[in-house]
Amino acid sequence: MSLLRSWRVKEAAQRPVLVSYRGKVLRKLVRNKTAMAGLALMLLFLVVAIFAQWIAPYEPNKMDVMNIMSRPSWVHWFGTDDFGRDVFSRVIYGSRVSLRVGLSVSVLSGVLGALVGLISAYYQWLDNLLMRIMDTMLSFPAVILAIALMAVFGPSELNAIFALSIVYLPRTARVCRSQVLMVKEENYVEAARATGVGDMRILTCHILPNIMAALIVQQTLIFALAILVEAALSFLGVGTPPPTPSWGNILNESRDFLRIAPWTSLASGSVIVIVVLAINLVGDSLRDVLDPKL
């Protein structure tokens, strides 16, 4: 008995520890300090955005005519703007717009882009047409395409999400297509086809899971880009319309009194940088972890 048990213990010790691919990636990610720092910052901003009404000390649009453009103080952490509105509260509420737009765009353009990429890589006869369209869209400067689309849709947060999703769709589609072209030559795809699995099932169950890594990395970077471009659109006055505070239109309003109250611009701008930086750090680390070749 005891001999058998000791043999079993010995065997268990010698057996290689089986860790799933997902487990390995997660472990690497947790050990990566920059990734964790970025993730922590992202979570912090997410919490701030969700609980904005409890965190913000003032109503974002409450005007205080006695305190116009007052310096940062304990009462108004980031000072007040030309209407006497508390900049700290406005920046907190602004995070809602930015994160909502960024997140929605990265999901929507991811889903649509993946669809286009899958179809064009899998069905060769559609490839030429679809990729030609994507190339044409890609050759436009993103901001100009976004401005033109916003003109058609009209300025609002929801329309900004649609416009930016269209603008960023081709990038995802390209990445997705090149990945599918690689994966579909793999043995397991061929084996699946040989056993009579249908196209739909091959695409969703065999190919899609294997291109997810590249897709997630790409969409993280688009998350960051979308926040930047949404801010640019609002800054130009074609994105989120005021008085809803968004980081872009706070910056736009701050331009007029940059000389007197530079803190408004400083606060909203630095917040954009911090969030986008955090997302980029997570994206870069994810890429390192998921694909050492890149």
């Binding site: 030609r132 190339d135 044409t136 890609l138 050759s139 436009f140 400067p141 993103a142 901001v143 100009i144 395409l145 401005i147 033109a148 689309l149 916003m150 003109a151 058609v152 009209g154 960051a224 930047l228 801010a231 640019a232 800054f235 130009l236 006055g237 074609v238 910056l251 701050s254 331009r255 940059l258 000389r259 530079p262 611009s265 400083l266 701008g269 954009i272 940088v273 986008v276 930086l277 980029n280 750090l281 870069d284």
Partner: protein
């Protein structure tokens, strides 16, 4: 190419036609009489059905390179764009040049000293570059150089024919903002491409011959790494112009951005169509030329 452009023109014209609002009501105000609105609508050819309008417009574009007349500015679209777009392209090109001048050496140094503080510093710079909005950088420059130090004008554009010094002064901040923002991405690209090249066999051969590391890096490494980098830089020119449009607004430079925003705000769809289509065509051409250049420079690539 021609086919793509034609389809593109139809899509853009159709899309811009969907813009809610009406250039006639915008130009006449809401209190105009019905007859006046109808007369103007007829004069501008807006009473025709969509396909007829598109055909007339396309005929003008093809036969006379005439993109129509702006409703709001009452000037030919081609003329407006011809006077505004060069300023935008000049800014973007100078910005691109600056980003290359900063980015390439930085990328080479980072690759040469991989893992060392130079590398880490360059990569921090690169990550910051992709995370800072260009227009905010521009605002900070205005605060620093124009408001606090009073070295440069806070905005505006001086024609070189009026004053060369004034012209240069008005260019410094926008070009600096565009260049610095994009230098990071260039450095990162240079670094990764060079690192890849340095893994090649011929680099090992060069080192084995006893060549100096500096020569290996510049003669064998950089030469081979430059080609893909140049191509990618060419392809990112479009996004750079997008950024320039926003930065122009900050410095109130009369480039294409103001025209675009007028077109959007005044529902001037003929102007917007012209701007978007022309910019699209320009970039399709640029990408085409980059592709051909790449193929001619690199004998390994042949398009069949």
């Amino acid at each position: 190419m021609v086919m793509v452009t034609l389809v593109l023109s139809f899509i853009i014209y159709g899309l811009m036609d969907l813009i809610p609002g009406d250039p006639v009501t915008v130009s006449l105000g809401t209190r105009a009489t019905k007859e006046l609105v109808e007369a103007r609508r007829e004069a501008w050819g807006l009473d025709e059905p969509f396909l007829v309008r598109y055909a007339t417009w396309l005929k003008g574009v093809i036969t006379r390179a005439d993109f129509g007349k702006s409703f709001y500015l009452q000037e030919p679209v081609t003329q407006i764009i011809a006077s505004k777009l060069p300023i935008t392209l000049l800014l973007a090109s100078l910005g691109l040049l600056l980003s290359v001048v900063i980015g390439i050496p930085m990328g080479v140094l980072a690759a040469a000293y991989k893992g060392c503080w130079i590398d880490k510093g360059a990569m921090v710079f690169a990550t910051l570059g992709v995370s800072i909005p260009g227009f905010w950088m521009a605002l900070n420059f205005i605060f620093l150089f124009a408001i606090t130090l009073r070295w440069l004008p806070s905005g505006g554009y001086v024609l070189p024919t009026v004053s060369v010094v004034g012209w240069l002064k008005s260019l410094v901040m926008p070009v600096l903002a565009i260049g610095l923002i994009n230098a990071g991405a260039t450095a990162r690209m240079m670094r990764s491409t060079l690192l890849e090249v340095l893994n090649e066999m011929y680099i090992a051969v060069a080192r084995a011959k006893g060549m100096k590391e500096r020569q290996v890096l510049i003669k064998h490494g950089m030469r081979n790494a430059m080609l893909p980098v140049i191509t990618i830089i060419g392809l990112t020119y479009a996004s750079l112009v997008g950024g320039t449009v926003v930065i122009e607004t900050v410095f109130t430079i009369p480039g294409i951005s103001r025209t675009l925003l007028i077109a959007v705000n005044k529902r001037d769809n003929i102007l917007l169509t012209g701007c978007v289509l022309l910019i699209g065509i320009i970039f399709i051409l640029i990408n085409f030329v980059t592709d051909i250049l790449y193929a001619t420079l690199n004998p390994k690539i042949r398009y069949t």
